[in-house]
């Protein structure tokens, strides 16, 4: 038995409000950020109201409680991802963006001889469908180290072109960093062949799971990747919290990124040594309340069941795609069926600019995103300067999809007046 989106919505306070003079909120922008259930909001405020203190530091009861709450959240994340090394492999960051930058900077800090050290003899591989957060850090690392940046191309039918896999992932490739699900196309990338080839040549595989962790069951061991990054705010969690998961032996060897309190073992005026993982990567007083909120979010998702969440989204996406395909003048930018595809549907209509489409939808209470969605190279390769993007989640249902389709027809009428 799957859940009912109508019931789910009751757990989310924001659906009690209306948009633009009393219109029902149709929130189709979860790809940018998700809404938050009351249990998440309360987890954060409960932390402040009852247990707030600096973790790992104070010699008092509040500090003990805060530490329990924070480390409890770490354990929830570990279980949620199937972390083979348990909690110690979970690092809290502020966002997926920070997680990915952490990896790129930490590798940049690696001394010669360290397995992460890069030189002009090495290659870093990404794809043409990366979010800027998983592209620019590698561009910069490439510029700093001389390592060559290479990438998988995207085919006209919105898939990774794996035909040339052996030419892209070459023997000298050290890092392969790819998105699990495109935040523009909705495409879910098949990982098995990439992971296999990468490991054959001794490269590590980093997964940008921003658009997959919130939407499907993830088992890092089954996926076979070495590192994984995601953001809490897209997974019903608070803003200001992200996760980096990695294999313990890799995290052990990876140099630290941010330097400061709580990540050290010993410090003199001129040198320092590092605490064990995960502390090594968590400098300063952490985003404790947000970690606790993320724990509550993942608990909420587990309550729905991640297989059920995914099934719901695939079904709803199929429903939406079928309806959209009946609209004249529409172009869906991404796969037009639900095969290996999540609930992110980007499109253009006639020659109405996406920003104007978005504005019209907004006037009908429908929240979408427009633009290049932080994936400018992909937009260029799909030959669309911008798109309108609707992204589905657990609180959306067919009524929302119908509202979107009606409003698209309305926009065509509204802007077709002239």
């Amino acid at each position: 038995m799957t859940f009912s989106p109508t019931d789910v919505r009751k757990d989310f306070p924001i659906f009690n409000r209306t948009i633009r003079d009393g219109k029902r909120l149709v929130y189709l922008d979860s790809g940018a950020t998700s809404q938050k259930p009351l249990s998440v909001i309360e987890a954060e405020s409960n932390f402040y109201e009852f247990h707030n203190a600096a973790v790992h530091r104070g010699a008092h009861q509040l500090a003990e409680e805060a530490t329990d709450a924070y480390e409890g959240a770490r354990a929830i994340v570990a279980t949620f991802l199937g972390s083979p090394g348990g909690s110690d492999e979970i690092i809290f960051t502020k966002s997926a963006t920070e997680s990915l930058n952490l990896l790129a900077y930490a590798m940049g800090n690696a001394p010669v001889g360290n397995r992460f050290a890069l030189s002009s003899k090495d290659r870093i591989v990404v794809t043409e469908m990366e979010h800027h957060a998983n592209l620019i850090p590698w561009q910069q690392l490439s510029a700093r180290t001389g390592a060559e940046l290479s990438w998988f191309k995207v085919t006209p039918d919105s898939r990774l072109d794996l035909n040339s896999i052996d030419e892209v992932i070459t023997a000298n490739t050290k890092v392969v960093s790819i998105t699990h699900q495109s935040n523009v196309l909705g495409t879910i990338n098949p990982l098995a062949a990439i992971v296999k080839r990468a490991h054959e040549v001794g490269a590590i595989v980093i997964l940008d799971a921003c658009q997959s962790v919130p939407h499907m069951r993830i088992d890092v061991k089954a996926l076979g990747v070495d590192f994984l990054a995601f953001s809490g705010h897209k997974a019903l969690g608070p803003t200001g919290i992200g996760v980096l998961w990695g294999h313990m032996n890799l995290l052990d060897e990876l140099p630290p990124f941010l330097f400061g309190g709580s990540m050290i073992e010993t410090v003199t005026m001129t040198s320092a040594t590092w605490a064990p993982v995960p502390q090594k990567f968590e400098a300063g007083v952490p985003n404790m309340a947000q970690a606790v909120g993320l724990g509550a979010a993942l608990d909420y998702l587990s309550g729905l069941g991640m297989d059920e969440v995914h099934a719901h989204e695939v079904e709803l996406t199929g429903y939406l795609l079928d309806k959209m395909k009946t609209i004249p003048g529409i172009r869906i930018v991404g796969p037009t069926n639900t095969l290996l595809r999540g609930g992110t549907v980007s499109f253009t209509i006639d020659d109405i600019h996406p920003h104007d489409v978005g504005q019209y939808l907004d006037s009908q209470g429908i929240a979408v995103r427009t633009g290049h969605h932080c994936a400018w190279p992909l937009a260029k390769c799909m030959l669309v300067p911008a798109t309108t993007r609707a992204s589905l989640y657990v609180y959306n249902d067919e009524v929302d999809c119908d509202a979107l389709v009606d409003a698209i027809l309305g926009a065509q009428k509204y802007f077709g007046r002239f």
Partner: protein, 145 residues
């Protein structure tokens, strides 16, 4: 309908029939500007003769608001002195910062007072300023020639 205060007819008209679109073959200065959040782009050519803007032409892509705004701007500023253009750009910037509280001065802004409605939509103010930002840059560069 609130939306109509944003999409005034004269705005959509300029969007469908843009003025001064198509770049002049020569120019005193050329600038290109991008709206980083939507990817809207504009290239602007200015020809300055004895302190007078004798030609202002452009190329670009973007939403109705950004495109209509450039179109009206080129209409308004062509033939004006740099000094006059300063008054007009200032007046337009003030209007866009007014959050819907100003109707704009039709003596100075002519058709562009239609953008009063846009100032109520904070997400679109940037769109309407894209061309004007480019003009500011272009004027500085042209003077430096």
């Amino acid at each position: 309908m609130e939306l109509d205060s944003l999409y005034q007819e004269v705005i959509l008209d300029h969007y469908k029939h843009p003025q001064h679109k198509g770049l002049s073959p020569t120019f005193t200065a050329q600038v290109s500007h991008v709206n980083t959040s939507c990817g809207d782009e504009i290239i602007l050519n200015i020809i300055l003769e004895d302190g007078v803007i004798s030609s202002l032409t452009w190329e670009g892509q973007g939403c109705s608001i950004s495109q209509a705004s450039v179109s009206m701007m080129t209409d308004l500023l062509t033939g004006k002195t740099l000094e006059e253009s300063g008054t007009i750009t200032k007046s337009f910037a003030d209007l866009m910062a007014s959050k819907g509280t100003s109707a704009g001065d039709p003596q100075i802004l002519e058709d562009a007072v239609a953008f009063a409605g846009v100032s109520k939509f904070p997400g679109r103010v940037k769109c309407s300023l894209l061309g004007w930002m480019a003009f500011k840059d272009a004027a500085i560069q042209a003077q430096a020639q």
